[in-house]
Assembly symmetry: C2
Homo-oligomer: 185 residues x 2
DNA sequence: TTCGTTTGAGACATCCGTGTTTCAAATGAT
DNA sequence: ATCATTTGAAACACGGATGTCTCAAACGAA
């Protein structure tokens, strides 16, 4: 077999991380396939982007599940919540490395279905942050949605730091956690 | 007089904050001017974007100057540096409200001259953060470029929080400062 | 009012990205 | 080796955005 569908998806994501404005022709070239074949796998650019966006959301959902944020929130146990928070942020860092382009690309949010699913995942995470506030793990005086946006913004910072080589890959989780929890002073 | 050049610039920025992918036709309509007139003021879309991007950079530079970050850094006085840091972040919040679209829009960074100037401003700010670290105002164990990226990421969080109404405008500076300096725990 | 300037509407050419189709070549299984 | 399937290259149509141009209308100053 030449280049499979999954491989196309992977390579397309990699290329979009470098150039989020890539055209179908550029994506075809980057994935080692002709424009015609790319259209045989995906009906159009919109469908391709929906698939890639769904992959990114799959990764996000998987991170939430592996960190068991719902169970930790339900337990109301500070230790469990703290552990889940660490696992969540660590997993998100991995995800950002793979699907970082989806973070700030405005085109993704206009595709059918993606925004709704992203909102659901965000709401789940907000519920977790709220439980963390109630358990004394996170400050209760900050708006919980601000906390959610803070994580989002810091992930953008992570993406840029890794892209520009400002922080070593092996240090980034600890740096993110330190900054998020204790700040910069 | 009908609509002046400065007014076009202001309205165009406002519209791009809502729709960063706006076409020249949409910008003409949003600024209350015909497409022909828009082209009389600006040779092309690239020139228009360069002008708008320069405005955003002007605002950034003005904030740095008004906060007197260079003088504060040179003084090595913790109190002065702290004051400058507060003024810097407060000013950046204002700037983000006006020129938020330029924060994450990739098209801006490819325009001639803009990236170079943005790099200069960033380097000045990094020098200030470094002085803040040496003065004990900011943690010395974090990479200074990470701190710079953190500010950038948190400004993205500020933009989104204001856009979605998650945080009141009058609370956002304090919230940002608290989060940046002391973290979320 | 008169005259020079500015503007808007529309037509037009051009470019670029998307999407489709065709056909020959490459591939792969038997 | 044969035959069915898949692929690539090229050509084509199409739409949207950009940029240019013209001319009549609106405007503003004298």
């Amino acid at each position: 077999m030449a280049v499979g569908r999954d491989q196309i998806i992977t390579l397309a994501i990699q290329h979009l991380n470098e150039d989020p404005t890539a055209s179908m022709a550029q994506l075809a070239e980057a994935t080692g396939v002709s424009r015609a074949t790319l259209h045989r796998y995906f009906a159009g650019k919109e469908e391709l982007l929906v698939v890639l966006g769904s992959r990114a959301l799959d990764g996000w959902e998987r991170v939430q599940r592996q960190a068991a944020i719902e169970e930790a929130a339900a337990s109301a146990d500070p230790a469990r919540i703290t552990t889940a928070l660490h696992e969540l942020l660590t997993g998100l860092v991995n995800d950002v490395q793979e699907h970082g382009f989806a973070l700030t690309e405005h085109v993704m949010t206009k595709l059918p279905g993606l925004q709704e699913r992203a909102d659901e995942l965000e709401e789940r995470e907000i519920a977790f942050y709220l439980a963390a506030q109630r358990a004394g793990v996170l400050r209760p005086d900050l708006p919980v949605r601000w906390i959610s946006n803070t994580v989002y913004g810091l992930l953008v910072a992570v993406r840029e730091s890794l892209r520009r080589g400002d922080v070593a890959r092996r240090d980034i989780e600890r740096t993110l956690l330190e900054t998020f929890l204790r700040g910069t002073s």
